[in-house]
């Protein structure tokens, strides 16, 4: 790159890369600074054992907003999406598993073996969620409106949204209003009686959260997800080559649009003069000046670690300190010598195992898993969201071998007894033991095991508090309140400093939404100032 960059992007996670790509397309010169040797942040593919590659953290797409994939022409940069026919396989301890297919009619048929009533209602649920999701989807690409200074264009956008809301069938409109504040356990109980189905759908409401299915407001997570992916079974968007392939396609797209990316450089401080961000200082002392700085790091890290405390109003700092970002998720990645045999699945594997495998057969199971976390313990029987990416993408492991990626919940950041370094393997054992109840030969097929605790998520991936979404996605921390009410438009109290990470609207998961929205706001500001 020649000359001073216009915008420094602190952190090369998927949102940082999306922001950089859009900024470059807008004619600006962005420079991405990534601490690790690889870009991608929480969406990376790493070798966990010689010859075994795994999406070490996030293992499926949010999914990425289709408009971003189109705008950045990711297909030409090598992105290949894999779609399994079975989106979710909910495992039952008795071997009476429930597959949730891509095709809802097939799901209804499968449900018929569990409950006639649920088989009938599933279609209506699927359709209703789809309509609500479609209506709400434009919200994802909006900068949350400012209550005091609403711009004309936004008023129009909001009016249109209001009109779309009124355009919903009245039943759906009420559902949208009721479901948000509800406990997801209540929501699914209103529709279905099959425990497996209830649990598989309810789990989507608590993913990544320090909350259980009985926690009020978990219904909102289901709605937010419906906006990203209207399918009732939830996202099942995989990438050939693992999640790292998605972020390297994003990096490629950013570079070809004119962005520069430097890896292995750690930003130690954002340089602020007279209340304005003028660049960054690296850990090695190097200063890089720029017209604006955008942080892909989480809000706590950005404001409490990368800025001098004196740069911020104490009230603001206090609120950031109260921003809840205590993680609840751990990760166990396994290199397997063979595909494990799941009880009750003899003939149907491996097609049944191509999507997400849900281990958490009942609402009470999920809630009990959460109970442990409330008292500072990891769940003895965690809820596990499992993928075996090698079923669809054998290139990730040697021939005949597999990788298994397990997102296990709950692993609370703050343990009451001991610390995570001392408890890491005990947690890994709890996860493996939980899965072995469904696949008895699992333990004997493990060649290597990687266990990532919330502490590791913080230390290695820079997620403060180990929160995979850069902060809890509860009713008081979403939309106009993400990260804080009054500061949800990607701007910060420091002029020239922006946020573009999952700690901004529309929040966590690999969707690119925050990065794209932030880039649009930044480009508009810089154009105004130029």
């Amino acid at each position: 790159m020649t000359g001073t960059p216009d915008v420094l992007v602190v952190g090369g996670g998927h949102n940082g890369l999306v922001a950089a790509a859009y900024l470059a397309k807008a004619g600006l010169k962005p420079l991405v600074l990534e601490r690790r040797k690889v870009v991608g942040g929480a969406a990376v593919t790493e070798e966990i054992h010689p010859g075994f590659r795994c999406s070490t953290l996030a293992h499926s797409g949010g999914p990425l907003l289709p408009r971003i994939a189109a705008d950045l022409d990711l297909a030409s940069h090598g992105l290949k999406t894999l779609r399994p026919e079975v989106r979710v396989l909910a495992l039952s301890p008795e071997g009476k598993h429930l597959p949730l297919y891509d095709d809802p009619a097939r799901t209804a048929t499968a449900l018929g073996r569990h409950s006639e009533k649920d088989a009938r209602k599933y279609g209506e649920f699927h359709a209703s969620l789809g309509r609500i999701g479609k209506m709400a989807a434009p919200v994802l690409s909006m900068a949350p409106p400012d209550l005091d200074r609403t711009e004309a264009g936004e008023v129009w956008q909001l009016l249109k949204l209001g009109k779309d809301f009124r355009g919903l069938p009245r039943r759906d409109a009420y559902r949208l209003l009721r479901w948000g504040p509800m406990a997801v356990a209540d929501l699914v109980a209103e529709w279905f009686e099959t425990d497996l189905l209830r649990a598989a759908i309810a789990a989507r409401g608590v993913y990544g959260m320090l909350g259980g299915p009985w926690s009020a407001g978990t219904g909102a997570n289901l709605l937010v997800q419906a906006a990203f992916e209207p399918h009732s079974a939830g996202p099942a968007s995989f990438v050939a080559g693992g999640m790292g392939a998605l972020t390297s396609a994003l990096a490629d797209a950013a570079r070809s649009a004119g962005a520069e990316i430097r890896t292995g450089v750690e930003v130690s401080r954002i340089d602020v003069r007279d209340g304005k961000a003028v660049g960054v200082v690296l850990a090695n002392g190097e200063r890089i000046p720029a017209r604006a700085v955008v942080s892909n790091a989480d809000p706590r890290r950005t404001f409490l670690n990368l800025l001098e405390p004196t740069e911020l109003d104490p009230d603001f700092s206090n609120r950031i300190r109260n921003y809840r970002s205590s993680g609840a998720v751990g990760k166990v990645n396994l290199a397997l010598s063979r595909l494990p045999k799941f009880r009750g699945l003899d003939g149907d594997a491996p097609a049944m195992l191509a999507g997400r495998i849900h281990v958490g057969p009942e609402i009470d199971y999920l809630e009990r898993a959460f109970d442990a976390a409330k008292y500072g313990e990891f769940s003895p029987h965690p809820w596990c969201d499992v993928t075996i990416p090698t079923v669809l993408d054998p290139s990730l492991a040697p021939a005949g071998a597999h990788v298994m990626s397990v997102t296990a919940q709950y692993a609370p950041e703050r343990l009451r007894e001991g610390d995570w370094n001392g408890r890491r393997e005990a947690f890994g054992d709890a996860v493996v033991k939980t899965l072995a109840a469904y696949a008895p030969d699992l333990e004997s097929s493990i060649l290597a095991r990687q266990v990532l605790t919330p502490k590791d998520l913080e230390d290695v991936y820079g997620l403060t508090g180990g929160h995979i979404f850069h902060g809890e996605q509860a009713l008081d921390q979403i939309f106009t309140m993400r990260p804080l009410l009054g500061w949800a438009r990607y701007r910060t109290p420091i002029a020239g400093l922006y946020l573009c990470g999952a700690g901004t609207h529309p929040g966590g998961r690999v969707t690119g939404g925050p990065g794209a929205n932030a880039a649009r706001e930044i480009a508009a500001d810089l154009r105004r100032r130029a």
Partner: protein, 490 residues
């Protein structure tokens, strides 16, 4: 549920509701209740004994409370001032909403739209700090909310207790911060956050209101249980009593909960299917029970012995946040809390008329006692009573020796005797999806019902439960408005 009964000879109990604070001041004024015999005696403070021999004792005197909190944490004593101020601001914002007919956001007419805009504007007029607090209050858990202000565990536990009363939620459940505010809005003589007893028990409030009603021209008939609401051509025309007597009227206004009104007192076929579905899934889930004790003396607390002023206020068994949450965990899986949260009062100390000389009545509100029990409430009633006595005895060991009589009310008893479905003391849970324009059912939160000339005026309508009177007043105003507009036609 606001009645005083002589359960045991000489001992008068406010059998269900036991303290008063939420009764709307405009109702006291407009109905001139003091003239009809309402007298409210102050309930001073909350005493929380702790297992380590210490205690937390908050009183109405702000400076005393501040000193007491400072004994536990200096920082918390300072935060307590700030917190009080913030809550009063929040209360100011929410209070007018209590007397409002909820706007319907899906309504196609302009009025509904304007109502919503007006509400939005009021929110917009708040200072940024108050907006932030308001949003948090509406969505957070009581403990998460309090964590931002305080560090003393016992203080947070006791304060968070008001967030769970009457709900099937724990202190860490999102949505409970709102209930915290609901209770903070208690108001007596215009003084915020003060609670009291009615002289003669809670029944005295009902009696004063009944008196005022009679004077205004209302006829009241007791011992006349209603069997059916009579309907004709999609309109309510009157009621049939259990005795078979039929009474016809232009309007029927139901103060019982929606399950009784729509599913028991009429044929659901008279109502739209969607509405019936909504009423069927309206959540009650009673979570509390009541233990009333007739005592030969006063309980002696290990942490603060003697018959001091601490016994004149509320006594709260809420020693830690984890204690409160574990109590909830038991209930989630269908069990009585092994160690429940208990809120006790001894009204005979303030109003000696309710017990024989030297004797006392003690009323214990207990949570959690889940209506949906794994097991049978009739078989577990006494075990539940034992758990409560056992729990209190850990703090006041002399209790067992001074109990003369014991009355145990389970959620099932509340349902059977007081007509509260599933024993919910608020006629339905106060959770966000059952508040405001969603209470009791979306589209039917404006006191009218799908059946013409049938109205609702109970706690299952906005703004919900507590001895508040607001639903009744709001419903009456709405009905009068409809009447004037000629909408109520026979």
């Amino acid at each position: 549920a606001a009645v005083t009964e002589e359960v045991f000879p000489g001992f008068q109990f406010s059998v269900c509701s036991y303290v008063v604070s939420l009764l709307r001041p405009e109702i006291i004024r407009e109905l001139d209740l003091p003239r009809h015999g309402l007298e409210i005696l102050p309930l001073d403070g909350t005493f929380t004994p702790m297992p380590n021999g210490d205690y937390l004792w908050r009183v109405n005197d702000h400076y005393k409370t501040r000193r007491e909190i400072a004994r536990h944490s200096r920082l918390d004593a300072e935060a307590y001032d700030e917190y009080g101020k913030a809550m009063i601001e929040m209360g100011r914002f929410v209070k007018p909403i209590l007397s409002m007919t909820p706007a319907d956001p899906t309504s196609r007419d302009w009025k509904g739209f304007l109502d919503l805009l007006r509400l939005g504007k009021r929110f917009r007029d708040l200072s940024p700090g108050d907006r932030y607090n308001q949003v948090q209050l509406m969505s957070m858990s009581a403990v998460d909310f309090l964590d931002q202000w305080f560090e003393t565990d016992v203080l947070k536990a006791t304060m968070s207790a008001s967030g769970i009363i009457g709900t099937f939620l724990g202190v860490r459940s999102p949505g409970t911060a709102y209930v915290l505010l609901h209770h903070y809005m208690g108001e007596i003589d215009g003084a915020f956050r003060s609670w009291g007893f009615a002289r003669g028990g809670t029944g005295a409030i009902s009696n004063a209101i009944a008196d005022a009603a009679r004077e205004a021209g209302v006829e009241i008939r007791v011992k006349s249980p209603i069997a059916k609401i009579l309907t004709k051509n999609g309109k309510a025309t009157g009621v049939a009593l259990a005795s078979g007597e039929e009474i016809f009227a232009r309007v029927v206004c139901s103060s019982v909960d929606p399950r009784l009104t729509f599913l028991k007192m009429m044929d659901p076929k008279e109502l739209p299917d969607d509405f019936v579905e909504d009423i069927e899934r309206y959540k009650f889930r009673g979570s509390s029970g009541k233990v009333n004790l007739a005592l030969d003396g006063l309980p002696e607390f290990k942490s603060l012995p003697g018959a001091g002023a601490h016994l004149r206020g509320a006594i709260s068994i809420s020693p830690s946040v984890d204690y409160m949450e574990r109590a909830y965990d038991d209930a989630k899986y269908g069990q009585v809390s092994r160690r429940p949260y208990i809120d006790m009062v001894i009204p005979s100390l303030t109003d000696p008329s309710v017990a024989p000389p030297g004797k006392h009545v003690m009323s214990c509100f207990v949570q959690y006692a889940p209506y949906n029990l794994k097991g049978d409430w009739d078989e577990q009633r006494e075990a539940f009573g034992d758990t409560v006595v056992e729990t209190i005895s850990e703090h006041a060991p002399n209790l067992k020796s001074i109990i003369r009589h014991r009355q145990v009310l389970t959620p099932l008893d509340l349902e059977r005797e007081f007509g509260l479905s599933e024993g919910n003391i608020f006629q339905g849970e106060l959770t966000l999806e059952q508040l405001f324009f969603l209470r009791p059912a979306p589209g039917w939160a404006q006191y009218a019902t799908p059946l013409r000339n049938l109205y609702m005026c109970g706690s299952a309508t906005h703004p919900g439960g507590g001895i508040m009177g607001a639903p009744g007043r709001n419903a009456a105003l709405k009905l009068l408005g409809d009447w004037k507009k000629g909408k109520v036609r026979a």
